[in-house]
Structure formats: C-alpha cells, structure tokens
Symmetry: C2
Subunit: 198 residues, 2 copies
C-alpha cells in the first residue's frame, strides 16, 4: 500500500493553502515569520514539497504576472487535496500518536476550525484529552519505577516531559471552555494567559 506525499511539511502546506492560495515564496515567509517556524522554511524543502504535492494533484499552480517583480506561481488546493487535508486532521488520536511528540496533533488542531468548522473542535479536544490521560499514565508509571535507577538530571528530564503533557491536559479543558463560551472573543486588553506562571 503506497501513500503519497505524507510528510508533515506537506500537510502544513496544504493547511496554509486552504486558508488562501499562495505562492511558494509566501509559504516560505509564513514558516519563517510566524510561530510555525519549527517547520522547515528553506527553498530546498518548500519548492520540492510543492512540486510533489502538485504531481499528486493535491494542489495546482498557475502562473501570474504581477506588476513588477518576477512572475510567480500561485498554488491552490484541489478537491482531492482538500479531502486529504480533511481526512488527516480527523485521524484518530491514540497514545502512540503522542509518543513522537504532540506537534503534529497540535498542527491538525490549528487547522481544524477553518477546515471542519467549530462543531468538530469539542470532539477533537475530548479525544485528545483521552489520549493524553492514557499516555501520561504510562509515563508516570515509568517514572515511578525507574526513578531510583537513574541520575537525578535524567529523572528530572523525564519529569519535565510529563509536566509538558500535563499542561496539555489542562489546556484541553481551557480550550473546550473557550468553545463553550459565547463567541465573543474579540479581545479586551486583558490577556487570558498568565505571565507569572501557572
């Protein structure tokens, strides 16, 4: 069974193009300038990825002559590309999914609202929470059993990992809350985030 164009970078691009059609250069800028900076960015990654996606008919590019500047190719999602993005976002979330970091799941959630609508968010968060409970339980068990066999710094590193997942757990509650509140989230000057620590 062969799957095509399944790198996280590929999906990240699909998600961006779902928001609005863009040129490769714009995609690069988003990765470079926004908080998505953890994803690759360099031309040697983006342009080949775009060509792959195009070869698989997930996106289609067309040339546009601009007033000034070199001409550029604007890429937009195809129907199959949209379908693939939608399916990826709703993939089941298991504890094993989390083993290699929660980054991919968070990326899927980031795109969720605009791709599937507000209604799906609560279910997603609830599934995420379940997987997190499962996974943290395993980590805590491991931590408990091995604490005395490892150097303090190694154990502390493990504890940090657990705390990270615990903070995600709390976050799922906070996020569900946000969706339950009446949809007036146009910001007052007061920030919901606590600076001093939480």
């Amino acid at each position: 069974m062969k799957r095509s164009a399944d790198s996280v970078l590929g999906y990240a691009i699909l998600g961006l193009l779902h928001q609005k059609p863009m040129s490769g250069y714009e995609v690069r800028k988003v990765f470079a300038e926004t908080a998505m900076g953890n994803y690759s960015s360099s031309p040697g990654a983006i342009y080949p990825a775009l060509r792959r996606l195009e070869a698989n008919k997930l996106i289609a590019g067309k040339d546009e002559s601009t007033t000034g500047g070199r001409e550029r190719r604007i890429f937009r999602l195809s129907a199959t590309g949209t379908a693939k993005l939608k399916k990826w976002i709703l993939l089941p979330i298991s504890a094993e999914t989390l083993g290699s970091g929660a980054g991919e799941v968070m990326l899927r959630f980031a795109f969720l609202e605009q791709v599937h609508g507000r209604e799906k968010c609560d279910t997603f968060l609830s599934d995420f929470r379940t997987a997190l409970l499962d996974y943290t339980a395993k980590l805590e068990e491991f931590s408990r059993q091995n604490r005395e066999r490892m150097p303090l710094s190694a154990w502390l590193a493990l504890e940090q990992g657990i705390r990270g997942y615990q903070s995600m757990l709390e976050w799922t509650e906070y996020a569900r809350q946000q969706y339950r509140e009446p949809a007036t989230r146009i910001a007052g000057p007061r920030s919901h985030i606590s600076k001093g620590g939480r």
Copy 2:
C-alpha cells in the same frame, strides 16, 4: 567547515554509551522500551549511525563471543567521543535553540549530571531559564499581535505552545530546588538505564 556525525540520534547514542558500553541491539532496546522512545529505534537507523560514529572514531566496537546466541559487537566511547559529547552538552542555549523544540536541550540535560557532575547542573538550568524567558516573551508578543487575525483553534494551538514553555520555566525552578536540597537521593547502584516499563 565540515562537521561530522552531528545528528541528535548520534549524540543520544554517545550519551547511552557513556553510561555503559553496549551492543547495537541493546541501544535499540533502550530507545524502544524507555521514555526515549521518541528517538528512532529501527535497525536501519541505529546500525548505520553506529557505523558512522565508528568511522569518525567517536566510538569503537569489538566483537564478543557470548555464551549462546550470535556474537555481538560491544561499542564503547573513545576519548574523542567523550570529548565531543561533553562539548555538545554544554553548548550555549539561546532562544533560537528553542525554536525547533526543546527536545535536544532536554536530552543534553538528561546526560549532564553523569557526564559533567552535579555542579554544572545549576548553571545549565539557569541558562536554560534565561533562554526560555526570552523565547516565551517573543511568543507572547506574537500571540498578542495576531490573536484577532487567526481562527480560535489556531490561536489556541499557539497558546498551548506558550503554556508548554511556561511549564518548562516552572520546571527549571523545581529542578534547581532539587539540586539545592541535601542529596538524599544519591547513591543507588551505578547508572544503568532500566528496562521494563512501557
């Protein structure tokens, strides 16, 4: 200038071999069974990595005939390998380091105590804290400025990232505390990464 064998996986292996010499199979088991499961694991990753490290003289393997079973190669750190590991662990920590995830920094900390001793831990944590303060400030600034321009789920994903770093900040305090406390927890049999768990 060309750098050799600098993948995180390579350093993870160096760190393990610092604890005790091991065969490739044992290394694989550690990655598969302990909380280091986020690192690769499969033979197609481990064995080539070992050969690379050996080619660069960072480790040396020698055959050992065991009672029963196929014979295996036990790898141990060389002097240059140890030096390289030590240097990597104490690399400066900047906010940019954190941009692509804190996993590498945490791995360095996990090895820190047994490689450099307890005394270095406080400085490391203090430097880490500084970098975290810097980085979270940038993320919060970004969040504040873009909140209204993004869908709620995207903003929440960003907030989750910030919370993650904030939890690391709190953890640095906790960890420093642990080192300040009288060393009730030392001792135990000499290192060893446990099995079991998972």
